[in-house]
Amino acid sequence: MANSLYSIVATFESPDTIIKAAKAVRDAGYKKFDVHTPFPVHGMDKAMSLPETKLGFVTLAAAILGAVGMISFASWVAAVDYPLVIGGKPYWSWPAFVPVTYEIAVLASVVLTVVIMIVFFFKFPNISHPLHDTPYMKKVSSDKFGVSIQAQDELFNEKKVRELLQSLGGNVDAVYYSDEFINFKPQLFEPKFLLLLAGIAMASSAGGYLLWNKILFLPPYDWMMEQQKVKPQMVSNFYSDKFAMRQPVEGTVARGYIPYPYKDKPDDAGKYLVNPLLPTKQVLELGKKKFLTFCSPCHGNFGQGDSRLRGQFPNPPSLHSDKVRGWPDGNIYHVITNGQNVMPSYQYQVSREERWAIILYIRTLQRALNAKESDLQ
């Protein structure tokens, strides 16, 4: 199998001799040669006359890319797409972006340097190399220092190269390779490989499913479910009154909360409550929106008691009856706030202003179905 000559190699005993050998090989005019040592030998770059690496420019470009990309992204998010006032500072507060910009610049330069180094500088995927798995490589990766002159070199002449390396005191050998082995291309779409991928995907999905949905709910992994908190209907021994939550101090009112004084007194509500809103376009639109959201499911889109729930519940009454039309606004407000018969209280879903707006909208609907002559003119 191994039939073509790849290179003539020679092993040396010490870092000093390998530096001398590298200098001699370079001075003899060979270009395609390489040196292999078990550890980095200082001064080898100069001895081999290697040019300065260009990798630094890749790192610089990647760092600039990362920095510019991140500061643009942060600026766009914070000042354009989702402006939020944070700490009373302007939307575009550049000092806050500096740490993340710096981090991303470092991350981008490190990751891109490694990736570009492997892919472009090392010509990945370089599955195999003629020097791999040879006695030479075993030696130079443990305790010997080797130099290898490739047969592709323009000046290559096997006899001369052997003479040169021998004159330097090296232990000379030759490395052969087979074209077939070197030009082997990995076959990605082989059934076995695809089966392996599918197997890995299935195993990892099953493992993930079991972990997140089953195992975490089994002892001893379910400890997160045991929390020291008081659940509904439980007795708390922390306070003497056995309640978990505190009652408000007597005679006080929570901020933003106005108590409703006419509970169970619909007539008083009708008598004393006055709609604080005027039927402007804005208010009526708000009332319409809230009416359609909260009232129409039962009372119907026009308040005629004809929603799709008809028949499943006791019939919701029409809002156009004489009774409702005759009510003062306060009575309707009382019904929305307290509920009536089957209708529950809507005081937590609908704010006070919205209730008054809904009442104005109901008045508009009532007027629309019972319009006066004068309205048509």
Partner: protein, 395 residues
């Protein structure tokens, strides 16, 4: 010893006369200007005296730190140039001379020395047990004593080693260096708190000590780098100084100036973000009435320009580039101290001959002391066991 040491210039070679002359001219001119400055505007002269004093402290105490750093880190590459650092540390006693006018004019500098202000001010009253003239003076005396003590120990063992080539001096110095590093960390922080932060006694920043420390270290290394490179160009030290030696100076300078930027920005960002009125006024004063240009120039000349001057590998080995960067950073340290001191006293930036007097005097003094020292002692520590490895140093 061996063949290498024959190449070393063991003889006590004098500095180039142009440099010595420059040193004396700067010192004399500086002295004259300082005199005029004190006569015409004593208030402003004291402020500039403080800048000059802290600059000299940066270089002299920083030089002692670099001596200790070399011993404690077992650094090899810097051993052939250690004498430069030791000569620079010889400016330490001059700190006392520069401090005398400051102590005489303390009332013009430090608000907390006025007892009537302190008694009526709750914050200053609370700080009075630390910030009072007696403990301030004692702290300064103790710091000077500690620095002088360690400097004299390092110097004695280093110079005696030239004669007897005994390795035990290195081990003794390593032990002293191990003690000196933490002592230095505490003392330089307190020095910065005392002399610079207490100019605005209501203000506080726990990172301020580190900020002054790294600024002073960048400045010291710049002075060392400038002297080493320009003397090496004229054939001092030893033959065969390689790019690897220069690269080490460039890389260390690069690392330290990046650390300065990190600390400077950290100090700014935390105060800016929290935006607490008891902290932020210090930076607000430095961002209005023209001070914003000084602040921007500081970021530009202390970080951005030198950063890109040193970022590439060949530029860290280029002698001309190293010298230019070092000079720029020395100037930037003056700017840094100016930025720390002056906004307390002036609503907007001021610049005239007052501001030039003390930089001239301090730079002149450093050169003169360096010249006198180099005339008396070897430029290379010929007895140091690490010297040969330092000369052979390769990256």
């Amino acid at each position: 010893m061996n063949e290498h040491l024959n190449n070393i210039i063991v003889a006590k070679k004098e500095l180039p006369s142009s440099l010595v002359k420059l040193g004396w001219v700067l010192t004399m001119l500086g002295l004259v200007l300082v005199g005029i400055s004190y006569i015409t505007d004593a208030q402003r002269a004291v402020q500039n005296n403080l800048i000059g004093f802290t600059f000299l402290a940066s270089v002299s105490v920083g030089a002692v730190f670099f001596i200790a750093l070399e011993y404690i880190a077992g650094a090899v590459w810097s051993t052939p140039f250690r004498r430069v650092t030791e000569f620079l540390a010889a400016t330490l006693p001059l700190l006392i001379i520069l401090a005398i006018p400051l102590f005489m004019n303390m009332h013009n500098l430090f608000e907390w020395t006025h007892t009537d202000v302190v008694t009526s001010d709750k914050v200053l009253h609370g700080k009075a047990s630390y910030l009072n003239v007696n403990s301030f003076t004692i702290r300064f005396a103790v710091m000077m004593a500690i620095w002088m003590l360690f400097y004299l120990v390092f110097r004695k063992h280093s110079f005696v080693q030239d004669l007897n080539h005994d390795q035990k001096h290195t081990s003794i110095n390593i032990k002293f260096a191990a003690v000196f590093i933490p002592v230095y960390a505490i003392s330089i922080s307190l020095f910065a708190f005392d002399w610079l932060m207490s100019l605005t006694p209501h203000w506080f920043s726990t990172i301020f000590g580190v900020y002054y420390f790294i600024g002073s270290i960048v400045c010291t290394l710049s002075v060392i780098t400038y002297l080493v490179v320009s003397l090496a160009e004229k054939g001092y030290f030893f033959k065969g100084i390689t790019e690897d030696h220069y690269y080490s100076f460039g890389a260390l300078l690069f690392a330290l100036l990046s650390f300065w930027a990190y600390i400077a920005f950290s100090q700014f960002m935390l105060i800016w973000y929290a935006n607490l009125p008891e902290e932020n006024f210090w930076f607000i004063a430095r961002w209005k009435n023209g001070w914003e240009y000084i602040s921007s120039a500081l970021a530009l000349f202390h970080f951005w320009i030198p950063y890109f001057m040193l970022v590439s590998r060949p530029s860290k080995m280029n002698k001309g580039n190293l010298k230019r960067t070092a000079l720029l950073l020395i100037a930037a340290h003056f700017l840094d101290l100016y930025w720390m001191v002056m906004p307390t006293f002036h609503a907007s930036p001021v610049f005239s001959f007052h501001e030039l007097a003390f930089p001239m005097l301090t730079l002149g003094l450093i050169i003169v002391v360096f010249a006198i020292q180099s005339k008396k002692y070897n430029m290379v520590p010929i007895g140091d066991p690490k010297l040969e490895r330092g000369i052979d140093f390769r990256l």
